[in-house]
């Protein structure tokens, strides 16, 4: 069958099972857009900025477990996509991004809308390709999806010069992908599994520390919970790992790290065995590295060997897919009919109960005072039964969401953890709502973050996506202001907004419903009303919150986890 490059792309997406792509047209991809116009295998969603396309693809991928797909044009289209690629790389999100490129003959000539996109995105992708012949296109696309979705997932970019999308050649679908240079390990080494189980069953003060790896290995959350209960070890989650174990599980300690709970950070600081599962010892998690879990034997399970012993030395590394390794661990425990050391564990749990009693997330909501941001999150949890898909931007509201929303399930918290990308939340919410049309999607954002990708309100309107956006509006870049208060003697250098737009009118101008709350007494009613808006309209609730509330607990940068400031 003879097809143009653009038709080959469409055919390959169909065969990869793609049902949704996010993109923005332009000169170099016109041929591809024409082929998309003529097909009905997948739906293309038009975003309003290429960064939005990548974050939407990310939200789609993380909520659905499928690979996100984006399409952008050459030059500025592709450079606008770079933040979204870097974000997906840092958070291990599977995305294939197609970018148009100027015709092959013009590459290197500083042509109109030319940029060295393969060069620019080399360190922002797991891998990238420049397609040099239409004949190579099908194989490259096959490899791109394979690389994006296997091993440690990540973004892959395929740069397609315009002539390649026009040229006609014989289409051949490669049935299998076999790359001698890329063969991710899936199952853990049996010897290491045995050793790990021995450690788990003799530990006196064990802690399981799990991360985003649980989200990427579908079905692993239930195994994580089973392991935790089998060895009677408490679990703490990283920001990316929230929902890995239900928030109300007896064994859950809350998030650890810079804004983690007292019990999580104290437990990690005092444990004798730390089982890291699909987490990468980020500096926001470890604090001062020399003082991190100083007495612990560290077992580290990760699909990416380069994450192991990168920041913290792992005494017992296990390279493998988190789900496969968890299964192996549980099988080995069952085979040995292994029991943990319950006498020692009773003392450990007693200690943990004491730490929990500190109630480090406590806050007071004055009846006639300003609205506390934490209240808004907790009330939203109640209104959505802790079961919404929640996307956030970056900053204080993100940390309050992590601390107070309470996630029941995996793949429900979509946030930019590694790169810390303001502007992530709204487009991620777009992607999540498209992936999961029957689920409630909530975006928590701040008055600063929302403005970084606010144009995507138009996408919500165009596709009638009933996302609820809640702005915790303190008229500050809250986290910047908090650091300035704590570490720069309250010199609020450029962290204050004195020209905020009227978000309610803005929502209405974009075709949605806008609401504002500034009295505690109205909060319940208006939040409820927001969730009761029927039909296909997005709702934006602008909540005026206590302006100078800080996120606590906090481990100052460079301090040890047990040196946290409680309030």
């Amino acid at each position: 069958m003879k097809l143009s490059g653009a038709e080959i792309l469409v055919e390959c997406l169909k065969r990869e099972g793609v049902d949704t792509i996010f993109g923005y047209p332009g000169g170099a991809v016109l041929q591809i857009y024409d082929a998309i116009f003529k097909q009905d295998h997948f739906k293309h969603y038009l975003v309003r900025h290429e960064q939005g396309a990548l974050h939407a693809a990310s939200g789609y991928a993380r909520a659905s477990g499928k690979c996100g797909v984006a399409l952008v044009t050459s030059g500025p289209g592709a450079t606008n996509a770079v933040t979204g690629l870097a974000d997906a790389l840092a958070d291990s999100t599977p995305i294939v991004c197609f970018s148009g490129q100027v015709p092959s003959g013009l590459i290197g000539n500083d042509a109109f809308q030319e940029a060295d996109v393969v060069g620019i995105t080399r360190s922002a992708t797991k891998h990238n390709f420049l397609v040099k012949h239409a004949e190579d296109l099908a194989l490259v696309i096959r490899q791109a999806f394979h690389i994006a979705t296997t091993g440690r997932p990540g973004p892959v970019l395929v740069d397609i010069p315009k002539d390649i999308s026009i040229n006609i050649c014989e289409f051949e679908w490669p049935e299998a992908v076999n790359m001698r240079s890329y063969q991710p390990v899936t199952s853990g080494h049996p010897g290491q599994i045995k050793k790990a189980v021995r450690k788990m069953l003799t530990a006196q003060r064990p802690v399981i520390y799990s991360g985003g790896g649980i989200m990427n290995a579908a079905g692993s959350a239930a195994l994580l919970r089973e392991l935790s209960h089998t060895i009677n070890a408490p679990v703490t989650n990283t920001l990316m790992g929230l929902g890995g174990i239900p928030y109300d599980d007896t064994h859950f300690l809350g998030m650890l790290g810079m804004h983690g709970t007292y019990e999580a950070n104290m437990a990690v600081s005092h444990c004798d065995l730390l089982v890291a599962i699909g987490a990468r010892f980020d500096d926001r998690v470890t604090g001062k590295i020399e003082a991190f879990a100083p007495d612990a034997t560290i077992i580290h399970v990760d699909v990416d060997p380069s994450s192991i012993s990168k920041n913290v030395h792992a005494h017992l590394p296990i390279v493998g897919d988190v789900k496969v390794v968890l299964t192996q661990l549980l099988e080995e425990i069952a085979r040995k009919n292994g029991q943990p050391d319950e006498i020692a564990l009773a003392l450990w749990w007693e200690q943990i109960t004491e730490w929990r009693a500190v109630d480090s997330l406590y806050f007071e909501q004055p009846q006639d005072g300003p609205i506390m941001p934490q209240s808004v999150i907790r009330k939203t949890h109640a209104l959505t039964d802790g079961d919404a898909i929640v996307a956030t931007d970056v900053g204080q509201h993100q940390m309050w969401t992590a601390q107070h929303y309470g996630f029941r399930k995996a793949n429900r918290f979509l946030t930019s953890g590694g790169l810390g990308t303001m502007g992530y939340g709204l487009p991620a919410g777009v992607g999540a709502q498209i992936a999961m049309p029957n689920e409630r999607v909530v975006v928590f954002t701040g008055d600063a973050s929302i403005q970084m990708c606010i144009q995507e309100l138009a996408t919500l309107y165009q596709y009638k996506l009933p996302v609820v956006i809640i702005i915790l509006n303190n008229a500050y870049m809250g986290m910047v202001r908090q650091w300035q208060e704590m570490f720069y003697e309250s010199r609020y250098s450029h962290s204050y907004f004195d020209a905020l737009p009227d978000f309610v009118k803005l929502a209405e101008a974009y075709g949605g419903v806008g609401m504002r709350v500034d009295q505690v007494s109205e909060l319940d009613a208006i939040l409820q009303a927001a969730f009761e808006v029927t039909g296909e309209s997005f709702v934006l609730v602008d909540v005026a919150v206590s302006r100078e509330e800080n996120v606590y607990p906090m481990v100052p940068a460079g301090a040890a986890l047990n040196e946290m400031v409680l309030s």
Partner: protein, 165 residues
């Protein structure tokens, strides 16, 4: 500590930039890098020399392996291995010292590649890195016009090969 790492990569567009970019992005230093396709021209073999403690070298190996077109990585420093670099030197016409110069070439198993006895000569030496350093020192008094050298190529001793399969 100095480490010599050999790498087999897919011989494709951009692979050298990926390797070099990895070193600069992660702050590793790279002393020398040699690369050329093998007889099976789909594969290139690199020899790179870097410095770092065991932890850094371990990360370098892992990060190299993480690059998609990298097929195999081996740090040969701990094994008994051989390294050879090549040096080319253009020296001035040596007049009265010609004999001493030719003795030197012979002493170090060098070769005269281009001989213009009245103006200049181009010499070639293949040897261990430290011997090449010594040769340069020894040639300095003769007056060198220009020099160029490769980083070392490396190969483990023993019957086992470092190949794709």
């Amino acid at each position: 500590m100095r480490h010599t790492i050999t790498v087999l990569v897919e011989n494709e567009f951009g692979v050298l930039t990926r390797v070099a970019g990895l070193f600069s992005a992660r702050g590793y230093n790279i002393e020398t890098l040699n690369v050329a396709p093998l007889q099976d021209s789909t594969v290139s073999r690199m020899t790179l020399v870097t410095r770092g403690d065991e932890h850094v070298i371990e990360q370098i190996k892992k990060q190299l392996n993480k690059l998609i077109p990298v097929i195999k990585v081996e740090d040969i420093s701990h094994d008994v291995h051989l390294e050879r670099g090549m040096l080319m030197v253009k020296v001035k016409a040596c007049g009265d010292h010609c004999e001493a110069l030719l003795d030197l070439v012979e002493q170090y198993d060098g070769e005269v590649l281009d001989d213009h006895i009245d103006s200049h000569m181009i010499l070639e030496f293949t040897n261990k890195v430290d011997v090449l350093d010594a040769i340069l020192d020894a040639l300095t008094p003769f007056g060198m016009i220009e020099t160029t050298r490769t980083g070392p190529l490396g190969m483990r001793r023993g019957v086992d090969g470092f190949t794709v399969d």
